[in-house]
Symmetry: C2
Subunit: 401 residues, 2 copies
């Protein structure tokens, strides 16, 4: 992000920025004018709230997830916590559940900032193979079995999964894979001696522009108390507003609220009221519809350009939502920070996220180093084909075809 | 806070709420209307920013602290980080500098939430006697000497001090005490084998309504690179807006920015732009003037009521700023959560913060248990004399006079 901010001529297909032009500027102004009316209401928005979040927003949040799931969760608003973006929730849950030396299972590849959260706490990440349909359950069983044999199951506290339009691959997990994951975790719980939670990061869920809605892991009612659901209003509405949330079972909720209190007492009430009114007035819903259309178009711009410019031996997947295309150079060709590909791209003014950053350090396999996360979210429409053309030229030069 | 929110008839003199009626509702509405104009500016406010914070706000922040100090710090805006309230900065700095088992020196008494941050990370707090003029330097020397003898100096990473209208006592540290503290820390650094930082929490600095401005520890130029300055715009402007900041030497700044990235990528841009424009348009300055006048009046309401209602053997200090009066029952009379005093007060509808919560667990002394933190910040004007009268009646009953 810093590079993008410093070098305006560079076309960044790296940053997970959302689309600037479609940000709800006038909607936010209208809502805040209403929220900041003289009197009690305006004062409440500018005063401290309670640490877990605004009660009305917690209620709406539960209702919204239940609407997306097409089913009741069986939870009440007391199971909801509001955070300063869902990133903060990931951080807090990791603090709440893990000690240094513990193990968190992650998708291979996964969200690179989450890997840094783990590293910074001395927590080990262990990768589980990811397929375009979700977790590779056979591999998950193998990994858990291996940890059990090595007496390390007691260090495994959770599995972290980005289930919708995953960062970095753009893939969405099928529901049965999530249910299967929960069953496998349950199977190994006795040997672990404690619950192994599934942290379902649904950050990109509402950025769907093709395919059908998919229930979250909360729909697995039998295993509901093992699911930690992390969602956000920032990406679908306004990233600058930073409002995320969690739907959590006891006692995880209580632990998370306590840590949240130590972080910041609670998310800015002003931001919470902005999102609450956006939801209540349907401005949120309307806006989500608009940006889905917009991202569909941006994704099409990108995939059309990829079809024209990338050599045939670079594989990639057509996205159905989210912000990313995941592309892989042919075997033997590196895409990492030190690679000729990345350095040439940088020199010619186009930036992607090297796939290697998205893989955990895992002695069980060599770290893949030929993938690229290419984002269509933040770049201007006109820049997308130019950036892809630049990258395509380099790929043709380096990878032939 | 939860109690206050749940039991409206209770008069809470406990919560560190700021005064609701004086919140800048119309000012915030006006600013946000301007910030959220269609086009680039509005988009920037609703988009991600950089992790360390908005460059213009970082610059203004440095200038503001230098204005309060009446002297240049010698720092640049690159030494400033913006956080989601200054509480988040305290958390991040503790994470950045301390490992489990480490020791942080704290004022005795100190801010109770900070004690919980330390506890939750397995960090030990060691109390240093506080006087109405600041740290007791002789005691600090003793404590450091004792830690040195016991080979524990290498575990001491910083000293945490709330230097203006302290929470809970309301006392302000004289500048020479801060300079003396820095000298003492420096004296023991060689034996420690690493820097021992002074974390100066200036959260209440701008809530001054009597006495003169006091330079911060940053004014001790020779020791500037040992000072971690934590400030906030939330308390002086709007607690619901949650914008705090740090002025930090390298390499602490870099470590803090990295951790901040893992927490939340950066504080909401919308909130940052609100504060930036408040500063640029002088609405901030004007508002600070207003609330200083208002808190002076609320403090007078409280001290007048205390004079009428408290028995003579309860000691207390006249506040010159901040939100709190610190009062002590006579020796032998307890004020803690389980005490008759606290329980009777609760039953009769008045709440204070028991002083015992503000003392660290310290084997070197018995934990004091006869103090009360009584806040005039959040209560309505009319409730202050009623709450104090209730409390005074109980004190006369229990402590005689």
């Amino acid at each position: 992000m810093q590079l993008r901010l410093d070098r305006p001529k560079l076309i960044s297909l790296a940053a997970g920025f959302t689309d600037s032009e479609s940000l709800p500027v006038s909607e936010a102004a209208e809502i805040l004018n209403e929220v900041l009316k003289p009197g009690k209401r305006g004062q409440t928005a500018l005063q401290y709230g309670s640490t877990a979040g605004d009660p009305a927003l917690r209620k709406r949040t539960l209702e919204r997830v239940e609407k997306l799931d097409g089913a009741r969760t069986g939870y009440t608003p007391a199971n909801v916590i509001i955070t300063h973006g869902s990133q903060q929730l990931l951080y807090i849950l990791t603090e709440a559940l893990c000690d240094p030396g513990d193990i968190v299972l992650v998708e291979d590849p996964t969200y690179f900032v989450y890997l840094d959260i783990l590293r910074s706490h001395g927590i080990r990440a262990r990768g589980v193979r990811l397929t375009p349909d979700g977790m590779d359950l056979e591999h998950l069983d193998e990994v858990l079995g291996d940890l059990k044999r090595r007496g390390e199951l007691k260090r495994v506290k959770m599995l972290y999964q980005i289930t919708y339009f995953q960062n970095p691959t753009g893939w969405t997990s099928r529901y049965d894979r999530k249910a299967g994951t929960l069953e496998l975790l349950r199977k190994y719980e006795r040997a672990a001696g404690h619950p192994i939670y599934l942290l379902e990061d649904a950050a990109y869920r509402e950025l769907r522009f093709a395919g059908d809605e998919m229930p979250s892991a909360l729909a697995a009612r039998k295993s509901r108390d093992r699911v930690l659901y992390a969602g956000t209003y920032s990406k679908p509405f306004a990233t600058g507003a930073r409002v995320g949330f969690g739907i959590l079972p006891e006692p995880v909720l209580t632990a998370a609220v306590r840590i949240k209190g130590n972080h910041d007492f609670g998310t800015s009430n002003l931001l919470q009221h902005l999102l609450l009114r956006a939801l209540e007035t349907c401005k949120y819903e309307t806006h989500v519809g608009k940006i889905q259309t917009r991202y569909r178009r941006k994704a099409q711009l990108m995939t059309a350009a990829i079809k024209s410019h990338f050599p045939g031996n670079v594989s990639w997947t057509e996205p159905r939502g989210g912000l990313y295309v995941w592309a892989s150079a042919p075997p033997g060709k590196a895409s990492g920070v030190k690679s000729k590909l990345f350095q040439t791209a940088l020199a010619r003014g186009v930036l992607y996220v090297p796939g290697e950053l998205c893989y955990s350090d895992d002695p069980a396999r060599r770290k893949p180093n030929r993938d690229m996360r290419i984002s269509f979210g933040g770049a201007a429409d006109g820049d997308i084909p130019i950036g892809i053309a630049r990258l395509g030229t380099i790929l043709r030069e380096l990878c032939g075809s």
